[in-house]
């Protein structure tokens, strides 16, 4: 026998699924409870946080070739600014923003480098943070993804093939471009060619109201500079002599750039694996890490 029963109607709980939320990066519509954008795989938490705080975070791109040291630089930078807030204070927004810091510093403390950033966008680390500068009353909201060099290389070879890189670079207000000083010191020209391709790609990006990349601030960071001390004495002269093509393009295509030398380790050795040789740090002594980022923020701050 069927007994009639009174069942409360809970369908109002689904109302938030009926309206789509735009991805902060690519603008694609996603349901409210989506974790990663269905189109570009950027964390939807960025859009939620931006909507909740009613601010639009600035995007900063960190670009460089494979194994240039982007992950180590960004992880170290965030950890340094979190631990010692004298020059500027960094507060991570959301637990996902601490992943990069945790992975990097944990690996360095164990005497190894963090694993390479996976090629798949759903596994990239995104950092959303608030920066308080002593000379600025209102804090800056920043988003910095850790893009793998392979993804950038693919995008350079096949423009618009990656759904993250183009919208990210179109919306970024500034960039950190990393160049491997150790490879330049060894006479390799790969870094020179990669960087030239990157600048050519940036020059082709035009995104409505934003200024072209020729007017956006770009910090050129020579990484692994501990392996070539002259790099610290005069980074600009080092870049000019070791990467002449890139240097000429910088002068022609960028109007607001500055060159820095940076290193996280004080020396490296190699561990022989079954199939390859792996670099391991001998000691951790960060040098020149905060300066490029500080310069970039100063340039961004001057614009607001």
């Amino acid at each position: 026998m069927i007994k009639p029963a009174r069942q409360p109607l809970d369908s109002f709980r689904l109302v938030h699924n009926s309206s789509l939320m735009a991805c902060y990066l690519c603008g694609a519509g996603n349901t409210y409870d989506t974790e990663l954008c269905r189109d570009c795989f950027a964390p939807m938490a960025l859009a939620h946080q931006a909507a909740a705080q009613k601010v639009s975070p600035h995007l900063i791109a960190a670009l460089g070739s494979d194994s240039v040291g982007k992950t180590v630089y960004l992880g170290m930078l965030i950890d340094m600014l979190s631990r010692q807030p004298d020059r500027m204070q960094l507060l991570a927004r959301g637990a996902f923003s601490i992943n990069l810091q945790q992975t990097t510093v944990g690996a360095l403390a164990r005497g190894e480098f963090p694993p390479p950033t996976p090629h798949e966008p759903e596994h990239w680390n995104w950092v959303h943070c608030q920066i308080r500068l002593p000379a600025r009353r209102t804090p800056l909201e920043l988003i910095m993804p850790d893009l793998p060099g392979e993804a950038v290389q693919d995008e350079l070879d096949h423009p618009r093939s990656c759904k993250v890189v183009y919208p990210l670079l179109a919306k970024s207000l500034g960039a950190l471009i990393f160049i491997d000083a150790a490879r330049l010191q060894q006479g390799s020209l790969d870094e020179d060619y990669f960087s030239m391709k990157l600048l050519s790609y940036l020059a082709e990006i035009h995104d409505g109201p934003r200024p072209d990349w020729s007017r956006r601030p770009v910090a050129l960071v020579l990484t692994k500079a501990d392996e070539c001390e002259p790099c610290f004495d005069d980074p600009g002269a080092f870049l000019k002599s070791r990467a002449p093509g890139f240097w000429r393009q910088c002068n022609e295509r960028l109007s607001n750039y500055s060159v820095y030398a940076a290193s996280v380790t004080g020396g490296c050795a190699f561990r022989r694996g079954r199939y390859s040789r792996e670099r391991v740090p001998l000691r951790i002594e960060p040098r020149g890490i905060v300066e490029p980022f500080e310069w970039l923020l100063t340039q961004l701050g001057g614009r607001n």
Binding site: Q84, L108, F232, G266, G267, F270, V280, R283, E285, P286
Partner: protein, 122 residues
């Protein structure tokens, strides 16, 4: 580690200091800044091993340095047990040296030892 007793990254100075700083961190024998400020050269070779004691490959022979410097980030790398390496002719912003003499070389002749030596020669 108490950051107030030595000059490492966590101490926040960000540069080298006078050897006479950090009096609270002197050793039992009264030696200043055995930890931090600048790495100190030693005459020993640096045989690099990883955390599992497996030997590491070096691009060139290195000499051992000890003690950590003002920019040493991890406290476990600024202790007596930790060694790192550097090329013997390298000159860096955070590596220095300490003049050390054996106590027996500066204490002068000891009468008992002199007497023993004379007895042995006779």
């Amino acid at each position: 580690m108490d950051w107030g007793r030595c000059n490492v990254w966590g101490s926040g100075l960000g540069k080298t200091t006078s050897v006479r700083q950090f009096a609270a961190g002197v050793s039992v024998g009264g030696v200043y800044q055995l930890i931090g400020n600048v790495w100190e050269w030693t005459s020993g070779d640096f045989n690099a091993v990883d955390a599992e004691d497996q030997p590491l490959e070096l691009l060139s022979p290195l000499r051992a340095i000890r003690g950590g410097a003002y920019d040493t980030y991890f406290e476990q790398q600024a202790c007596c047990a930790f060694r790192s390496g550097e090329r013997p002719f390298s000159r860096k912003h955070n590596i220095g040296f300490r003049c050390a003499l054996c106590a027996c070389d500066v204490a002068g002749p000891r009468p008992e030892a002199e007497a023993l030596l004379q007895g042995a020669s006779q």
